[in-house]
Symmetry: C2
Subunit: 478 residues, 2 copies
């Protein structure tokens, strides 16, 4: 899951309202009145939903999603925007989708920025020497060769920084040690910290990694320079070291840090969104139901959680339905976006390329980009009528346990354009309380992915998408 | 907490029976029959125990133990055997003990090995390139300069390795990927893996870090070469990478790893055990009650958990009793051992130096070396009569909640010599279920230490030691 540069803040803010991630309250829906006929029709999907769930969770597909996910992440490792590994992974998925018998397998070009992590090192040099593992933040400029050494100012908030006279900050490295509130709030220090520090004359900034819990891993993520300030290097340090620096600073110790980063922005690279379909029996190029995730990841860990898991349940939902001979009336389309982590580049391009005929082309959008832990339901985005139909469909998923539907302002980060334009959609809710423990760190690995939970996510995804794609009515848009 | 080289296995095996660490079953005690007089005397300590607990948990000392621990670990960082940081920390503690008003503050020399981590790197070079963060295991030899590159054999157990023909292992790097059972069982791959691999002709060995849970951190620890095999370099890799290598190997992929380690054994260095006392009102040099931990740590993280927390509650128990004007009949002695992590060197030297007159000198031993999370009681080592008295004393600790007493074969790793010789003692039981998440890794930091839990540990430690030191009777030895 990405965190947005300023230019895309509106998109992302809407995503940040997803209840399961931020803990924000969600509005309650009113009661629904669907026609008896539609209710009857939806309920008639009970047996087929049972069959889909059963085959994926207990039948011939059980465990396969995890194995496919392991093979993808083990083979290509991390998949950064602009890297050969990402492009190789895209080629691999294209071939595998064809092997799975999917229709219209193809890619669509999308520009992505190529930011490359170089040699990175931070060392506390006063009052004692200590290596501080760091991860430069995406889009950060590097330091001059040989690095910079500067005194340190430690602050716990933007307010604290802004209350300091500029001369107390000029020429220094600002270390932000905000306490964890949630990803939206605490993540602002990652997204905007460098610019705020530069505005006060700082030469670099470091942030406490954006996580509630740590075992000594820094967590990276994208940041964005504001237009009118100097671009200064910026990186994350571990929670352990951030808290330690804060304590030392509060004790009155004079801190100096040597920072060297050879990170570089190499410009724009053409990557690809990866698309495969289960072509509809009745509607081929219209009223498409999209299931999606993003194939790119950060360069630490292998992005099994963020977001190869979301990619895999989206792709394999089609594969399993196909293998079961279940082809709905509408086309089911898996879209595996590129360049999400660097600022929703693939998702934005897809919206730009398809929005003109979007009214006809699309019926419903799913995205999974907040983990594939045990599924809990959906965060729904759309109007009341759409929500009423969707809730009734989700009731069919009871073989997976009680699945909830909460309100969300977007189906997911790559789909924000569609959600903002009034298209209905849903994001996966799952037991992701530990999501940020691993997020954008070396811990984002297959250890996080449980085979049974992943089967249950795939089953929920496949069955819900199937019903929507096969229903006699479209899901209402605004 | 250390894990032993072969020469000290007996000591360590006894420690490994500590129920809270290994989950081994512990024997149940029979019922006790203490004299009415002794029962009455023990119960008479109720008010004083309440006062000690109240002052440390709610009164003027509340939060101080955590602050002192933070200052120690923030100032000196990791404290490896043979390092200047450890010796500086010893000097600091000596001065601080004097400032705290403790008696007979001094150090006693102990030899420790100096093993130094140099440049370390492992890289998967086939079938894909991937950096594998490693931590060399203590006492490991380095590789030749420039490193070695070799094919890989992955095994899940010693049995699997030993069933392979030697020619399948010769010239290769053995990667051990045992599943977590407990520290005693799984830790054997760290302690003995290099020798077992060398015996089959391997040129190096790597182990899955010994932990149940990971966020991408390798966990180090000491290992031991058997005498009749070649010394090959050996290191830990992350759980994430170990499991990944195992999957790739099981898929039939040919794996090659480049390994470079410039680690070195520099020989024996003279370090010091650090000692401070609260001199007894009646007995000065006899019937001493020892409270202890070890001041040395590994070189990753800062060893706040392993074992500066144990050191701090032992030292500060005396400080707080002194500040409260509570001086027991017997001497309370804090012993902060050195060189534990590299093989119980300080503890062994202390036993050798004091055992001749041990019968007269010592009454009871405490050690805290399995965490200072919320306290749960004690693992007791000693005869039935001793245990009966100890259990009755522990009942006084009810203001801290129900404290349990389980059976243990040793009061702690540094005290194994005393426990084996029949001296009574007790180790701290605490809510350390996550202990191995952080153990010997970058995660062993102040984040793990909770101020309230630490106060409660210090209170339990101080109050229990005080009663034993003040009682009219000695605790029976074998």
């Amino acid at each position: 899951m990405f965190s947005p540069p300023a230019m895309l803040k509106l998109f992302a803010l809407s995503f940040l309202l997803l209840g399961s991630i931020t803990g924000h309250p969600v509005k309650e829906f009113n009661s629904c009145q669907l026609s008896e006929g539609l209710l009857y029709e939806i309920r008639s999907y009970g047996p087929i939903v049972h069959k889909i769930i059963n085959e994926i969770v207990h039948g011939r597909f059980a465990g396969q999603t995890w194995q496919s996910l392991a093979e993808l992440t083990d083979t290509f490792g991390p998949r950064m925007s602009g890297s050969q590994e990402l492009e190789d992974a895209i080629d691999y998925v294209v071939k595998a989708m064809v092997d799975d018998g999917l229709d219209n397998v193809h890619t669509e070009d999308a520009p992505v920025p190529q930011w490359v992590r170089g040699y990175e090192r931070a060392q506390l040099v006063e009052p004692n020497r200590l290596e501080l593992p760091i991860l430069g933040l995406g889009t950060s400029v590097g330091t001059p060769l040989g690095g910079i050494t500067a005194d340190v100012v430690v602050v716990e908030s933007f307010e604290e920084l802004n209350e300091l006279p500029n001369e107390d900050v000029e020429g220094k490295i600002v270390v932000y040690v905000p306490q964890w509130v949630n990803y939206g709030v605490t993540g602002e220090y990652r997204r905007l910290g460098a610019s705020a520090a530069a505005r006060k004359g700082a030469v670099a900034s470091l942030i406490r990694s954006v996580t509630q819990f740590s075992i000594g891993s820094p967590h990276t993520g994208v940041q964005s320079y504001e237009e009118d300030v100097e671009k200064i290097p910026t990186a994350s340090i571990t929670v352990e070291h951030a808290e330690m620096l804060l304590r030392k600073y509060r004790r009155g110790e004079k801190l100096r840090i040597h920072l060297e980063m050879q990170d570089e922005n190499l410009g724009i690279f053409t990557s690809r969104n990866t698309i495969g379909e289960l072509e509809g029996l009745v509607h081929k190029d219209s009223s498409v139901v999209v299931v999606s995730g993003h194939l790119d990841s950060w360069d630490v860990g292998v992005g099994a959680m963020d977001d190869a898991g979301g990619v895999m349940i989206s792709w394999k939902a089609l594969t399993y339905l196909n293998a079961m001979g279940l082809r709905p009336r509408r086309t089911l389309r898996a879209v595996l976006f590129t360049g999400e982590e660097q600022g929703i580049w693939g998702g934005t391009q897809y919206y730009e390329d398809h929005k003109e005929h979007g009214e006809e082309e699309f019926n419903f959008f799913f995205e999974s980009d907040s983990g594939t832990f045990d599924p809990r339901g959906f965060g729904f985005s759309g109007n009341e009528e759409a929500r009423c139909i969707f809730e009734e469909i989700v009731k069919l998923m009871s073989p997976l346990g009680a699945m909830e539907v909460t309100s969300s302002s977007s189906a997911g980060p790559d789909l924000s354009g569609w959600s903002n334009a009034g298209y209905p959609g849903a994001g996966l809710l799952n037991a992701n309380e530990r999501y940020f423990w691993f997020h954008h760190s070396a811990g984002d690995s297959m250890l996080v992915e449980d085979p049974v939970a992943l089967d249950r996510c795939a089953a929920l995804w496949a069955a819900t998408a199937y019903v929507i794609a096969d229903l006699s009515v479209d899901i209402p848009k605004n």
